[in-house]
């Protein structure tokens, strides 16, 4: 009796229970059961169009994510993405009151920019393919480990990475602590070779300013905490550290060298037929830290998401992002979600709109506007609907506008009347479809 009590939890009751159930239901013998868990692929797919105004960057991006439970509680994830980029991108040169002629990155052709017009490199086009795989499995009862690898390839850039993430629940699953680590190794093979930093732009066919392939390594670390505050509210905070070393320069960006008084382009190397443009040079390490906080709250089925991110790096760029989304649910299967995002960043310490002729060269310099000071605002709206078969589609449209300092202190002479940081406006449209659940 003592033994039976102790093993009560594992007592075999199936047979007497089946007999009792037969007696209850007036059946002579138990029937049969044939059930099998179905483990379909969950598929998310999306098509995104990103279109900058004035013929600048256009991106068409197609993505597919798949996830399937291959073994009990163990999931395989696969992703495939294809991007096609075209359009014109700012080269870093300033506009001028004269016609400027530039050698294309390939070194095989040249293009001219009209007086007063922004210096855009129209030869910008690329196709990127990226694939990734991940494996997710429980560790003990409250832990979850996922490991993954990814590879992306484009004409002039290859990136390979591995990552791991471990999350563990505490406190009746109201608290989740997570740790992530990602390592990536990238190879840069610029069209026409990688420019020697601060080398001048030369004429068509002259490759003395170019070098071979370059590489960089990036390590990302993440520590995250997510906490259920009450039945309606979740709070999440992440700290991340990113360290990059190697070739961090953009091989397609250069700086104009101008006369310190008139602001007009200085003369380039004799015989090159170019004004003076020097390829940019960035430090070969970059350490970034960021803090991200998210508050998610349910209001009778509608959901508010508020987030804030602060990023700081040793290039002296500080950025802040404030973002809000509100999901209005209409019935059980339709929703509308407005989105607003404010972004602000300070310039890198070595950001210069131009270099001055005759002045000593700084250690590092870039005129890449993405490293300058600017503000960005995004306004968007998303609509989603579940279909009768349990699949879900959504459509999102967003407008992005970015503005920087069009007339910085360095805008001497002729530059004072030119727009040194043209506003950027972009439209983003996305269509997504989730299926496979049924």
């Amino acid at each position: 009796m003592q033994l039976k009590r102790r093993n009560a939890a594992l007592r075999e009751i199936g047979t007497p229970l089946a007999a009792a159930t037969c007696a209850l239901l007036g059946q002579s013998a138990p029937g049969v059961v044939e059930a099998q868990e179905l483990k379909p692929w969950d598929i998310d797919s999306s098509m995104l169009i990103y279109s900058e105004s004035d013929g600048r960057v256009q991106d068409l991006s197609l993505n597919v994510w798949g996830r399937k439970e291959l073994l009990e509680d163990k999931f395989l994830g696969l992703t495939l993405g294809v991007d096609s980029l075209t359009g014109a991108s700012p080269s870093g040169a300033t506009p001028a009151n004269v016609v400027q002629t530039f050698t294309s990155p390939s070194g095989n052709s040249q293009y001219a920019v009209a007086p007063g017009a922004p210096a855009l490199d129209t030869s910008f086009h690329d196709t990127r393919v990226d694939v990734s795989a991940s494996w997710e499995m429980p560790v003990a009862r409250l832990g979850l480990l996922s490991v993954g690898a990814n590879l992306s390839d484009e004409f002039d850039y290859t990136s390979a990475g591995v990552n791991a993430r471990y999350a563990r629940d505490f406190n009746n699953r109201n608290t989740t602590l997570s740790f992530g680590l990602a390592l990536a190794n990238d190879t840069v093979s610029p069209v026409g070779g990688s420019p020697i930093p601060f080398a001048p732009m030369l004429g068509v066919g002259d490759a003395r300013n170019k070098d071979g392939d370059q590489s960089k390594n990036v390590t990302d670390l993440l520590i995250g905490l997510s906490q259920v505050l009450n039945r309606h509210t979740i709070f999440q905070i992440n700290y991340s550290l990113s360290q990059a070393d190697g070739y961090l320069t953009d091989p397609y960006k250069f700086l104009s060298v101008v006369d310190p008084v008139t602001g007009n382009p200085a003369a380039g190397p004799p015989g090159s037929g170019r004004y003076a443009y020097l390829f940019e040079k960035r430090p070969d390490t970059r350490d970034k830290q960021s803090i991200y906080a998210l508050l998610k709250r349910d209001f009778d089925g509608d959901v508010l998401e508020l987030s804030y991110r602060y990023m700081t790096d040793d290039w002296n760029i500080d950025s802040q992002t404030i973002e809000a989304r509100y999901r209005f649910n209409f019935g059980a299967n339709r929703y509308l979600q407005p989105h607003v995002r404010f972004y602000q960043q300070t310039a890198a310490s070595f950001y210069n709109t131009v270099l001055f002729a005759g002045a000593p060269l700084p250690t590092y310099a870039t005129a890449d506007q993405r490293l300058g000071e600017f503000d960005g605002i995004t306004l968007g709206l998303k609509y989603g609907q579940e279909t009768a078969s349990g699949n879900e589609w959504s459509a999102r449209i967003e407008y992005y506008t970015q503005s920087g300092n069009a007339s910085p202190g360095s805008a001497v002479g002729a530059l004072a009347n030119l727009d040194l940081y043209p506003d950027l406006n972009a439209l983003i449209a996305q269509f997504s479809y989730k299926f496979g659940r049924r």
């Binding site: 009590r5 009560a8 939890a9 594992l10 007592r11 075999e12 009751i13 199936g14 007497p16 229970l17 089946a18 009792a20 159930t21 007696a23 209850l24 239901l25 007036g26 059946q27 138990p30 029937g31 049969v32 059961v33 044939e34 059930a35 099998q36 868990e37 179905l38 483990k39 379909p40 009862r141 406190n171 009746n172 109201n174 039945r231 059980a332 349990g390 659940r437 049924r438």
Partner: protein, 275 residues
């Protein structure tokens, strides 16, 4: 039955489908009217208001009471149809209103099948005690309705609020696809089960619980202590030949608390637990 009841009919013709539905609905209503503790004038009401006097019950009620007695024995007292009065202290409304130990202890003298005198066809409850067959009723209704629907069509799936039984596959031989709801994300499907024949029953507390000082009190109460079972999965789905057997195994598993999965493994049944 306080939950949606569906009958899916795999036969193409409308008449068969309507007849199958009519038979199932009539049986569900009959069982609900007869055994609901919320109705007055039925056998449960007569038993619960007998003030200690014996009540003579009909054959069907006697079979259910025999079954309840066997479950009490098989579960070492964890499954007890007299435990419903504990709901006077416990209201699982998602709030933090956990009752005082005194309030719970005060109810224990009127809980316990061992205090009941049951000699078919006569049942006598001590004064103040009540029985509630709700823990068996819905699954029993599925099986009972299925037995009647079988005469109309065998290509049927009955779903009474998430407790289901398939009499056979759909007309083209494909199984019925059943979604088990996620415990964390209301409305989302956590698992898909293809059911060809037999029953699936799910027990869980994903909606009905109390949360106080970080402790979650699920709605499954141990009638021996009057307190919620600790450490049980949020949801347990069991496959068995009958809905009643599947439902009882799922309920008994939750009553094991942290040992729910080990208990079901020992029974050799197919099950899916969500934590």
């Amino acid at each position: 039955m306080a939950s949606p009841c569906e009958v899916h009919v795999g036969d193409a013709d409308r008449t068969t489908a309507e007849r199958a539905f009519a038979v199932a609905a009539a049986e569900a209503r009959r069982i609900e009217a007869k055994f609901s503790r919320y109705s007055s004038g039925n056998i449960i009401h007569a038993i619960n208001t007998a003030e200690g006097r014996p009540v003579v019950v009909d054959a069907e009620t006697a079979r259910l009471l025999d079954y309840a007695a066997q479950l009490y024995e098989l579960s070492d007292g964890k499954f007890d149809v007299t435990s419903g009065v504990l709901r006077r202290a416990w209201r699982f409304d998602g709030s933090d209103r956990v009752p005082s130990p005194e309030a719970v202890a005060a109810l224990l003298p009127i809980v316990g099948w061992d205090k009941v005198r049951w000699r078919a066809p006569e049942l006598a409850l001590p004064r103040g005690m009540e029985i509630d067959l709700g823990g068996i009723g819905k699954e029993y209704a599925v099986d009972s309705a299925a037995g009647l629907v079988r005469a109309v069509s065998s290509r049927c799936l009955l779903n009474f609020g998430g407790d289901l039984l398939a009499l056979g596959p759909q007309q083209d031989g494909t199984p019925w696809r059943v979604g088990v709801e996620s415990v964390s994300d209301a409305g989302a499907v956590a698992r898909h089960i293809d059911l060809t024949i037999g029953a699936l029953a799910t027990s869980g507390d994903s909606r009905r619980y109390l949360l106080k000082d970080g402790t979650r009190y699920g709605h499954v109460l141990d009638p021996r202590t009057g307190w919620p079972v600790v450490g049980a999965p949020r949801s347990v789905t069991v496959a068995a030949a009958t809905c009643t057997a599947a439902g009882m195994l799922a309920t008994l598993a939750l009553l094991q608390g942290a040992g729910a999965e080990a208990f079901l493994e020992a029974q050799g049944v197919q099950f899916w637990a969500l934590r």
